[in-house]
Symmetry: D3
Subunit: 137 residues, 6 copies
């Protein structure tokens, strides 16, 4: 199964994760490995399609890709936002940019979605010992 | 009504529009002026809150703010995306970046939302005589 | 088919419509009559369940029922909001209350959903020759 | 920061909360104080914009404002509904009205969203020792 | 209250549940019995309308009805999907069909909704000792 | 570009379309060909991933795949439902099954989404000269 698209996808995934290794090539990224018993080809779709094709496109840099992802997940209210806030920090988004992106969506999604997302960001920042430099009031 | 926040908001709006002038300070931006008969204070909320406060925050640059907005609107499927694709071009997003952002969302929102958004992007690019430089296949 | 629940539903519907008559008992209310060819029992569900049961519940008055409906439709972005803005006027909601309800949702659904709903309200008010008395700025 | 809009917002918030005091002017209302470390200006947006401007609008009374809010949150499925069921009781909505509003939405949002919201209402009513007077079967 | 539609609904419900008995006619199906204190007529709506009318329609068989339900709940992201994965197994859907349906939605709802639903399916399969026969790679 | 997955996808697509030919291998299926100018690789994603991989999975037959798709699109309210109602008829779903699936969703998505979808079904049935055999009232 280790074809070209799979290899390309795994390599791309590693740009977004901290802890990948030979034994754990996807690091902390959830590539659907937990569904080997009921949907074994799922991780293939994530690696080959989502990362090997979509994330490998030119046009946006990695930081922009994560900002785009986080914004859509704020609008949806899906819990996967935690994973992508982590990825964002890994590719070099400043916590100010992540918070900036979430708060920017108040006029578009309303406060509840934004507050829910900020709670997740706060938790991730704490876990990774990251601080927001605030100077704006 | 021309208080500080309103002035700040109008100035910020002008960064996102091409055609603003003394007579038409908001240019092509829809600031809710069309609702003067039923909700006269609406444009005040758009100018003072959305632009005077939220768009005036530090943390993200204007290009990032539009990418964030477009991403959320793809996920929602709201027609306001047309306006913001226009704003994106005005603040200097390359059409490749706008398309890149929309296509990047396939794994997060599915194809239908993405196809609907691309149709709008295509229309805006045509109207503004903008071309996508494609080299990726 | 003219059982008790159906009669009760039709009577309830007439409280929300202007133009009902013996020939057209549902007036301008869309009770799914247009689907007689493909789903003939649909109007039965609308009349008997939606109006004969749900709209016939105690607890809220008719004005509150329409406000509740409009609010949910703003959040969903479904086009049925036009019908219910009409119903609202018929049961005596003031246009200020309808606009008030829609604009109140800015912090919960964001501006795009609200602007889309206001456009529909504006159209309905025009068609019915109804004006908003505005004094708030 | 204690400008006019902020004062107006805090005063408005107190109409929706039970336990506010000089030390805790917002009472049990979540005005985003928990995000002081990552988004310090968030509570300003909630107080000044959401309450100082939107909740301070004429057109709807406080009970109508909460009904409108709850309805939109049922449609969205966002957890903030708990806070607003509490606010509803504080401004004098009867539990029958809150339940009536949620159940009224079955034809518009389907059963799942309604059942999820009723579970929250049930929890809040229990916490506040409030009972629904039911007579309708 | 034990009218015809109610009896018909209860009988229909029993087709979708394993453990129903004289004392517990709805088995593990959640028919809103838990809301007797705040919305006593809710279970009536579920039994009479949802099951006595909608689930009793011709046109689709029981397996198709559950597939249809699960698909909509994947798109919505509502937690009721657990109950309906259980119902699906009870009416004879193979676990491969349930997983097949959820995974089929990746191009329409994106990965996050699908991953969240698969997690629920995995839990239900474990609880019921059901295995997916996988041969597809 | 005519690799294995592409060929497999095109072949799968043809099972869902009436009018495909050597010149127009995808028939009436929208595979994103209209976006060649701004996102030339889009049709590759549709053909190779959506059809070559996801639609080519075992577990569900083609009729079940379309029912699953239609159900999710009813819940989303996306206009692509028209295309998939057409596909459904092509793979042999009876119009009664398509209507049955849409109407079955009333308790899960509410009436508005269902009415909007029925309108589309009605249009497609008319265009293809297909009739619903109704016997249920």
């Amino acid at each position: 199964m280790a074809n070209d698209r799979y290899q390309k996808g795994i390599k791309k995934i590693q740009e977004f994760t901290l802890t990948h290794s030979a034994e754990n090539p996807a690091g902390e990224m959830d590539i659907g490995e937990g569904f080997k018993d009921i949907a074994p080809e799922l991780s293939k779709y994530v690696v080959e399609f989502a990362f090997g094709e979509i994330y490998s496109r030119p046009g946006l840099n990695n930081k922009q890709k994560v900002l785009t992802t986080i914004s859509a997940l704020v609008a949806q209210g899906t819990p996967q936002i935690e994973l992508h806030i982590n990825s964002g920090l890994t590719v070099g988004l400043k916590p100010e940019e992540i918070v900036g992106c979430i708060v920017h969506l108040i006029p578009y999604t309303g406060f509840p979605r934004v507050l829910n997302a900020l709670k997740v960001a706060q938790k991730v920042f704490e876990e990774r010992g990251v601080f927001v430099t605030t100077s704006d009031d």
